[in-house]
Structures are given as structure tokens and as C-alpha cells.
Subunit: 508 residues, 2 copies
Amino acid sequence: MGGISHTDRTRSLRLRRLGIDTYQEAVIYMHRDCYVCRSEGFEAQARVQVDYSNRSIIATLNVVTTDLLALDEVGLSEAAWRLLGAQEGDQVVLSHPAPVESLSHVRAKVYGKRLDMMAMKTIVYDIVVGRYSDVHLSAFITACSGDRLNHQEMVALTRAMIEVGERLDWGHTPVMDKHSVGGLPGNRTTLLVVPIIAACGLIIPKTSSRAITSPAGTADTMETLAPVNLDTAGIRRVVEREGGCIVWGGALRLSPADDILIRVERSLDLDSEGQLVASVLSKKAAAGSTHVVLDMPVGPTAKVRTSEAAKTLSNHLMEVGREVGLEVRVIFTDGSQPVGRRIGPALEARDVLSVLRGERDAPQDLRERALLLAGHILELSSHVPSGQGQKVAQEVLNSGRAWRKFQAICEAQGGMREPPCATHTYVVTAPYGGRIIGIDNRRLARIAKLAGAPDAPAAGLELHARLGSIIEKGQPLFTVHAETPGELAYALDYVKANPNIFQMEVSV
Amino acid sequence: MGGISHTDRTRSLRLRRLGIDTYQEAVIYMHRDCYVCRSEGFEAQARVQVDYSNRSIIATLNVVTTDLLALDEVGLSEAAWRLLGAQEGDQVVLSHPAPVESLSHVRAKVYGKRLDMMAMKTIVYDIVVGRYSDVHLSAFITACSGDRLNHQEMVALTRAMIEVGERLDWGHTPVMDKHSVGGLPGNRTTLLVVPIIAACGLIIPKTSSRAITSPAGTADTMETLAPVNLDTAGIRRVVEREGGCIVWGGALRLSPADDILIRVERSLDLDSEGQLVASVLSKKAAAGSTHVVLDMPVGPTAKVRTSEAAKTLSNHLMEVGREVGLEVRVIFTDGSQPVGRRIGPALEARDVLSVLRGERDAPQDLRERALLLAGHILELSSHVPSGQGQKVAQEVLNSGRAWRKFQAICEAQGGMREPPCATHTYVVTAPYGGRIIGIDNRRLARIAKLAGAPDAPAAGLELHARLGSIIEKGQPLFTVHAETPGELAYALDYVKANPNIFQMEVSV
């Protein structure tokens, strides 16, 4: 059956930079009439293997029917350029990719089969090297969502996600960490907990994510105060000097599969339990942490809605954590309303600063929550006796040591700065008076997102009333902040269409 | 909250045709620095609403960073041009789309909730008007796959898919139809059954699909013999004149959601039971059929692998059929090996022609299968007494009436033609002798697809041995046909890597 070699059926074209940004999907552009398209029988949406030097990627084909490309040229999306590492004018070799065999595991999972360690490893590896199209990623995420991953599968997915990326080693134990299981706007305790713990002499190299489905991730908020895009060497320098850092983990290749999956979860607005467990724990283990305190807000409109769901999820986190070498403690907290007064990257940074500086009007709920978590971390580290953690944390915050440590960390990360202010604001007032008996966190988060958060760092909203407040008709409920009139208008349209974000008990 | 109107936050740009074919996904191209991108805070992968005249579509944003587009220009993918119906140079208005509320139903389904009629209708409507990105479509398909749709949900999905499209009415009953539940290469009985039934004076307006995951759909095969892209008026003309037709259903907007979903299923290589039921029945009901015979091949490498699975699926088809006004009869057939001798559009057409012409070496299995199905259709119509159907069908075929009717149908559809021949072939021989005790249909189908089928109509393969044949070392097993050397080589690479497609019992 020999005689026809691999090279005979591959063809070479010259790379041209079209400058098309498709976000993360690798797309290849070829002219309909080019030799490769015709001889290989490629048509739009086909998957094409692109080889350059010793790199190889798989890209989705978009067929060009105009003179946008010459017949001997091929274009790549910006994501594909990044993956391939080639230069304009370089020659690439194109061919049909071999079938992505790990997709058969995804199909098996769709049909209810269990995925073992080997299956998860091949899936996660293929995802990281870019062999999955967005359609494939979406199917994998959906097939693993709901409660469709059992304990073994979560362990397998977590391990696979750790192993496929870099892993930091601090040569030291304990290495402390914390994480909030999102869903609660304004919950920026990390920016308080890290300086408290570091000020106590413990190591806490915190890598945070940007927002997935929320209006601000910790990295988005921190970025309004200091650079967060540090490389591994940069992080080591900061942590060696200050004991702690608050950086974006995305550039570090810690659990790189997570970054890819999260992007599609965002587009689906879907948070799956198994993927959440694997996402959180793989990042922590890859970051070299040994002890992790997880803040899990529970409430009707938080990510975790019932105490039953919280218990199930926390058991998964603790048990899977144990199997990947992490001691995990989960703290259930109140998830019935936003934490602090402000939602959005820069706005949340202002709440954090007021607590660190001990300002009189600082949001007490944010402060108390940070002290609670810091206390648990201190106790989990065994550096502070059980029952004493919160007291110690409070002393560190009140004395100004946490504030000084925070500034030192910001300086070490590249210099502290002032968070930006929005150019467009609008005050939404109460349509009638009464007592506030419910706040819809999800809709508040959506307003902040429609206003531009997190991409517009100054966008978001500022709350003027809280659960239990008694307010009068016309009194301000919240202020929407936006960086453009279009985004402000869009957020306000949503406010108008959703009058019951604040549930009021009207006294008669 | 007034003062900022909708029009203030929408912006207008001039359409430019870039000629980029993304297959079905609507993509919009805007310059990074254009006013709309900046003022609306759009970034790559954002969903953008495009309004033109009284049409409105949602497209996925690709951001252009070079001078491919001027700042006041906007490009669309070919799919988006088709959906929008605009001309180059026209002005479009761009805005943030309202949240696609039906996606909350998809998320609910991911979490195991049941979808009611209303939920299915809103999902299917949003799919048809282009509000779902490929990532959303993939999640919906995956969430409904496996056995995750119950009876009520299948009925709801089927009804929703019928109602969202056109529905033909023949003003006449019975209107006969047939369908093969795919998975068996070469199973082209439709091209035999339709002329037999029409020659008996019954109405059988057959709309067929192109291949989903197989190397040839019925429409692909028929297209090598006559035009199949007829509009509704064209079909009426053919059916009024000849009683039957064999056309591609895709252009008719009969269950248009099906065409969109099938494309993503293809990219996932996934066939879901509930979606299969809804796909088959919605097409039949929308085509105005009243009585349908379904051919369900069962075998270890067919689409339906066990008699248990066949029974479950056929119950779903009959029961859901009843609720949407279709009398459905399911015939289980042998699915252990390909039907006929050839696989691929033009090759299968040759098998069909040899049966119609009564040639001596015509594949008997294809002939027998067609007579079986035609017999059931005749009996289901009540035009022929029970037990007599197959005999009547045989007379019509043997007498040449079916062959004359087939030619008349081809002429009515636009003229009969000769199927094309492949320019590149390769004979694969047996590596050793023995008796053939198993044939892997799925791998044979994959070889035909790798050779270019169905997009290359002459591509596919021709079998020289069947189940039970005793063959000697070096004897031909099958010939691979391709239209290009690249595709031939690729198919042969796969053959080389998969030596056990024919399972042999070696006599010792």
C-alpha cells in the first residue's frame, strides 16, 4: 500500500497576516481556488493541520472567495499566530489532521460512560495543544456539567489539568492559599487576606483569575491598583521579598486547560460542579499551595444556592483536594447580597482601600468576611492556635500592618496606582418606599456587566441600600457607572426591564 | 431613567464584502479602532446585533487590527450576508443584542431539568433566526444527547421544529414516505422505492438530506443523477406529473432548525436519540407526509447497534409520530455490512442504476431491501392487501415500470445525467487468506469520507468481498476512489493504520 508518502499530500503556502482577532479559536484563511484547497478537498469549517518548523496546530478553515488573499497565500487568526509562533512570509505545510481520537471519549461521556484517568489526560492534552474547536470544547463542558462527573472523574480531570501545565515549587511548607467560589459580586476579600497573612510571616503566593461570568475577577480588581501580569520569575521575586502576591495566573501556564475551558464556560454562562472543582484545585495545586481555605458564599442568588448544594460541593473539594495533595477547608458564608458597597473592578478596589486604610465608612461586611477567612488560614497553617486566628488577623489589620504590607506588595509587583473613575454615571432611585427584603445578585451582576465591567475597569455599580434598609420613594438605590454612553444606556435599559431587582416589603 | 434612547447607543457602519465563508456561523468583522467598537466596548467573540432594513441578526465579532477594513466599514461572513439580505455599501446599525433568554432553558437542561413545549419553541425559534453561536448550538445538542430527552420533550422538540418552518400540504391522503435511520453505508433504497411506489399510483414526495456523518446522503447520491435543489413550486410540478420526487429538502425550509443542528452534530460526530427522532419526524411532517415506513438497520457497527436499542428507538419514533399526526411503521433490517457494493455518492448511484435496469450483476441485497420496504409502504397505504406488498413491488421492478418512472422523475427534476468517475483509485488486497467473519462499517465509512465523499461525488469505495466470502492472500478486498491524490493518500494512510476492517477467520 506504500508509494504515496506523507509529503506528497501536504502542500506549502506563504503566511500572510490579516490581523483578524477571533479571540482564542485558531482559524486559517485560504482562497477557494488555491491549490491546497482544491487538491485536498478542503471546504469551509474543515479542520486543517498547519505545520511550521517543529510546531503543528489544527485550525478551522474559513474560505476566502475574494482577492483578500492571493492563491499562494494563507492567513491565520491572531490566536493561530500565537500558537504557531511563525512570522509573516514564512512557509507553512497544510494537511488533513489525523482524527482527534480523544473526541471519542467525549462522545462516550455524552452517552453516560465514565472517563478514566487516561481518557481525561488525552482530552486535556488535546485541548491544551489546540486540537479542539469551540464546538468540541462546548460539548466537553456540557457533557461534564450538571452532576455528571463522579468523584473519580473529578480527581482524574483535576490531575490531568495539573499535569498538562507548569507547577510551581516553593521549597517550603506550608504554602497558604485562599479562593472564593464566585457568584457574589464585590467579594474582594483576597486583597485584604493576602496582606494580613503575609504580614504574619506566612507564604501566600496568590494567583487569581479574571472574571468568568462575573463583572470583576480578583485579578481585574487588583489590576486597577498594580500590575498583575507577572511571569514566574517576577512572582518569585515578589514573594521572596514580601511573602505574598496578588497576580493574574493566566500567563503562568498553571493549569492552562482551565483558561481555555473557562472562556467557553463564559460564553455559555455555565458553571459546572465538576469543572469548578477541577478548575479551583488544579490552579491551587499547580501554584504550589499546600493549604487552602475556600470561601463559599451560599444564598438564593449566589453561585451556590442551598446549604445542601454547598455541602455536596465542599465535600467534593475537600476529598478531591486530599487526593491531589491539598489540605482544603471550606467556610460557608452569607451569599444573600453583594459584599461591600461597589461592584466592578475599580469600584471594588475602592472598597478594599477603605478597609485597609481603616476609614470610618469602610464596608464592615467586607472587613468582617476578610477577617473570618484570614483567621481560618492562620489556624489551618498551625501558626496560630485554634480559636485565635480571627483575633490575630484583626490586630494586623487595625495596626496598619496589613495596609503597609499591601502597599509593599503593590510596589514589588511594579508600582501602586489609583483606580480609574467612570465618566458616565446614573442614579437609579426607588419607585416606591418600603423595607428591602431581597436583592437579586445575578441581576445586579448583569447590570454591571452590561455597563462594561470587567473590560471597562471603571464600570459597575455602587449600592446605596442594603438588605433590611428602609427606604423612601425617590431615594437612591444604586448608581450605575460606565465608561461609554452606549454601555450606560444598555445597562439602564436592562434596569428598566427588570424592576424587581430589589424586593421591597411595602408597609400598609 | 429616561433620556437615553435606543438610537443614541446604536451606531451605523457601511457594509463591505470580504468574501469570507465561515460555513453557517454569522461573523461580523470590525476594525479595532472603529467608533462602534470603542463606544460600545465590543471585543473579539462578543455577540453583536446587526440591523438592516427590517431584518436583524446576531453575529460573533472578529476584530480586525489591520487596514483590511476602514474605520467606517464593517464586514460580514457569507452566512451573515445570506441571513441579512443586504447589499455591499448598505448601512447597518450595530448594537449589543438583548440577552438570548432561551439559553436559560438550555442551561436548565444541562442541569437535568425537563424542557416543556414553550421552552423548546423559544429555543428552536432562536436557533432558526441565528441567535445561537456554534458554542451555544453545541451545548444544546450535547445537553439533549444520550437518553436525556424523555417522550414529552421529544414531542415538544419535534413540534417546535415543524412549526418554525414551512409545511407542505398535498391536499390528499395518504401521502407516503420512507426514511432510513442511517449508519449503513450504501443503503440507497430510496432511489428504488420512490419509483416503485410512484409507479403504483401513490404519492411519495421524498425530500432527502445530504450526509450528516456518513460518506453519502440520499440527496448527494441522487444529485449525481439529476438536479435535487428544487424549490416548493418545482417539487409540486414534479409530483403532480410523476407522483414522486427525490429532492434535497434543505432549501425548502422544512424544519430549518434541523439543518442547523445537523451541521453541528456532524462536527461533533454525534447522533443523539431524541434529536434523531425530532429530526426524522419533523422533516416528514413538514413535508406533508401522513404514512412513513422507517428502515432501521441494526448491527454491531451500524448506527443502531442492538435489537434492544432498536426497539427503544422505534417505540419513540412510533409514539412521537402519532402525536404529530404521522402513522409510522419501523422495519428492522440487517445492519451487519454495507448494502450494495459501493460507497460514496456516484458509486452508490451506479449500484442503484444496475438494480433499476435489472442487470445481472446488480447487488441483490440492495434490491431485496428496497422490495421489502416498498412492500411495507404499499401495505401501509392500504392500496395493497397485507402480505401482498412485496410481490407487487417485485412485479413493478421486474417489468421495467420502476426504471421508466425513475427516468421520468429525473427528467421532471431537470434532466438525467451520468454519475462522475474518480480519477484516482487504489486496490487494497487481503494481507492473508481466510473467511470474512466481520466488516467494520464505521471504518469503511471513514475511509470513504477521508477519500473525499460526499463533497467529492466520485469518491468512495467499491467492495470486492462480503461477509462469509472466502478469499485468498493478495485477492482484492476493496478499491478506494478519490478525486485528488491528497485525498487518496489520506484514505490509504488510514487503511494502513487500521488493518482489521475485515475480520478474517484463518483456517489452520
